[in-house]
Subunit: 354 residues, 3 copies
């Protein structure tokens, strides 16, 4: 499925953001994740739990069910499951069938996020979750804030593509956070097992319009912009603006921020999109929450408009690639390899059990 | 098609409710029935008629056409058909082609309902329609009322499943018409050629909240609850509440009612749902019409929420069955057998004519 | 695809109306044409241009992009194309890849319309566009006006069928522009390489209600009504009303008009519908623009209602044809032959290059 091989759309063995930690509480939170309904809540001892979001009896959604203590009572026939996914009560009989249980997904809270592992739970190694250090969450003097949990009517890879190619900043976001220099400046890439990183350093470059919120200075600046893509769906962005060599305060930081984009497939052709950010003051964050909303809307718009074109055309012509696509293509290849590995393993398993 | 074998979703040879009799009048009433558009009206002599709802010339809907006397004049090119489905007028020519006719469906008014036979008309035996006696329509002192003709965005079998498993009363309708005892009490089943019957007798049981409308008494009661499923889509429900053994008026009836649920496939994944009821006074009926609306909305909600999950998931896991599912499973098997028989006959016919 | 052979829905090698000429200006106009997004605008020198409406880089719609001089700058990553479809600027690199270009569609302005050729550009012979003379555009004393560019949720052939069978005038439009005589009167057909023509002459016939706008006279008239279908999607209609033989001004024209219906597939199951008209005075046109709107809505309604029936039914029964269908059937055969030829050529090409 574009831009992947037919049938594949996202790896299952990987940590995805299921929700902001602050979204998970007393109430049952329901969300589609990789084409499965999932329900989340926080138990009395504060543990965030993610369970299959569908009663195994008649497929009724647990998100529309009732929480009783730490258990979920299905809103339809009252069958009840505890936080481990074990059935604890069947209203119509006194014994509970051995098969009666639902999947509990590995769910780990780290930073602002609750991370879910939709694939084989035996492989859910927490060491694979981005550490708070490597995403710049622990930088001294920086305050992290969860901004928006969104639902976008486009496949998850369209947002990955978006975030792996920041040459769009000066165009899609030309009135806010980017300038043509974002595209004109070559990026430096670095790949390791965990993430694909890219950085641009722009010297003596015009300030993007929105950046002027943070300073009365209107002249050129030095700017660093970059993104680290932690597979399969988390993008940690870096932004730093300094006074340029020509300025009396040369080298001094005007503003620095981290932005975090988590993209999680909802269904095959829709996704969940979680945006968070850190800055040096809460005041800057409060302002950014407002001013960045239209920027996020532009990304959603692009994603949904492209999705519509992909779905409507009979035959989608192959994309014409540019040098700046190296990062996005590398990101796609890594995801495709993850999916291919899963397919092979599944087939091996099928062959072994055949 | 879940929960039936691929391709099958409903028997065609069977009486379904097409409308409340009172809905059929002067105006052309259009309704989808088993994936076919149908048009209904009442002729001058009072006969309710059901015809194909689509002009055989260019597929224009008769529901949007014009009634002229007892005929329907297609709203597009004016081709006119009488109540027998025979073409009586072609505006563009003086002779009427022999092939020009539309299907007239067997339609029988009985009780509050107009019953349609979507399958082979040669088999439309009126004796197969539930009799008014067997559905408790003729009980002395009871007044029958048609309440709601609804359209539900879920496959018809989801509502059959709902009505064949009343253990949901104390949960989906826990704030109105059920208590946990509805599930905890074993049911007694009875099957014959015409219907699958189930009954629960609850002694000294708490009153469901809504039942207290009919009495100032707040203590426990004796209660009978049951449903008779007349294949393929009519459910006749019985409800009776009495003062319990501990009460001075022990055995005396507090309230009794009959409810009738008719479920008719509209398309493969949507259905028509007709709800009617009888009670001992019109006042009780008028109140019930209002108080039962949210209850019906809960059933529609469950049906539509499950339908959405079924349609969205890649692979629907098999249902985990409970002892209380015996009735629903029996009901499904009967419907599946009806569909299998139709398939065999169709194939036999195809073979014979090949 | 109904009513054509499976897979086919419209010829590609043919001139279709893409827009009214007056719609094409400074702003980027986006429109789906034969399942392809197309973008149109007018360059500084006044030339109307139609280009692929989708950036070849990441499929972003050009209709939501930015015009810079005579070029289009993609709203996503800023890649820029000139009016010839040649890439002129890639923000992220200084050289432009040789493959970087988009399709420019042949687009010709003639009369009120901009005509596009979606198929093989080598065959886009302007001589195949209906001439202004043959569609009655140049009649002395007649003023042509573009009225409505509409989007109809039904396949294009349903509107062709509608326009090739004017027996519907007295029924679908019985309160406005037709009478039963439109159906009862036989039509005279004429076919040549360019168009399929049909005419009806009605003598001493009642006036259609809307025609009385143009005269105080209420009696019968002589009337000519006809349509010329220029393949594959343009219908030129003629209407003329005269005083009848019994009238003192016998033979004198009461009103004459030309109506032009252009039908262009948007996607496989939706279409663009352009309606224009000429009359002898601007006042008559201004009134007709208002009074004909409900008539066009009736046609859209019929198209969309039929489309819905076609899409919902499992098996669409074959149409029952009438003598009056000869014109429509002839029109369908011509379109099917055009599509068959294209299929053969494509297969020949595939074979040759295999």
């Amino acid at each position: 499925m574009y831009p992947f091989t037919p049938g594949s759309y996202a790896p299952r063995n990987g940590w995805y953001v299921a929700a902001f930690a602050e979204e998970i509480g007393e109430a049952l939170l329901s969300r589609w994740i990789l084409n499965q309904p999932v329900v989340m809540y926080r138990t009395a001892d504060g543990t965030a739990v993610a369970l299959e979001g569908r009663c195994p009896h008649r497929h009724f959604p647990f998100g529309e069910s009732k929480r009783i203590g730490d258990t979920i009572q299905c809103g339809y026939h009252g069958i009840t499951f505890d936080a481990a996914g074990k059935c604890t009560f069947v209203p119509s009989q006194t014994t509970i069938p051995g098969v009666y249980s639902i999947k509990r997904y590995p769910l780990v809270e780290r930073g602002l996020w609750a991370w879910i592992w939709p694939g084989d739970p035996a492989r859910a190694d927490e060491a694979l979750i981005p550490t708070l250090d490597e995403i710049g969450y622990t930088l001294p003097g920086m305050i992290p804030n969860a901004f928006y949990a969104m639902h976008v009517k486009g496949r998850y890879q369209l947002l990955n593509d978006n975030l792996l190619d920041l040459t769009h900043l000066g165009y899609l976001h030309g009135t806010s956070i980017g300038t043509p220099d974002d595209a004109a400046t070559p990026e430096v890439r670095d790949l390791n097992e965990r993430r694909l990183s890219s950085r641009r350093t722009m010297l003596d470059t015009p300030q993007p319009p929105l950046h002027m919120e943070n300073t009365d200075y209107r002249g050129p600046i030095d700017r660093i912009s970059g993104m680290d893509f932690f597979f399969p769906g988390f993008h940690s962005g870096i932004g730093e603006q300094r006074y340029p060599r020509s300025h009396p305060q040369a080298g001094q930081i005007i503003n620095t921020s981290r932005v975090w984009h988590a993209v999680t497939p909802a269904t095959r052709m829709t996704c969940n999109y979680f945006f968070a950010m850190s800055a040096t003051t809460q005041e800057r964050l409060d302002r950014a929450k407002i001013t960045l909303k239209p920027v996020l809307d532009e990304d959603s718009f692009a994603t949904e408009a492209i999705e519509k074109i992909i779905q409507t055309m009979d035959e989608l012509p192959p994309e014409l690639m540019l040098k700046s696509d190296v990062t996005a293509v590398q990101g796609r290849r890594i995801l495709q390899a993850m999916m291919d590995r899963e397919t092979l393993e599944r087939e091996g398993l099928d062959a072994a059990t055949a």
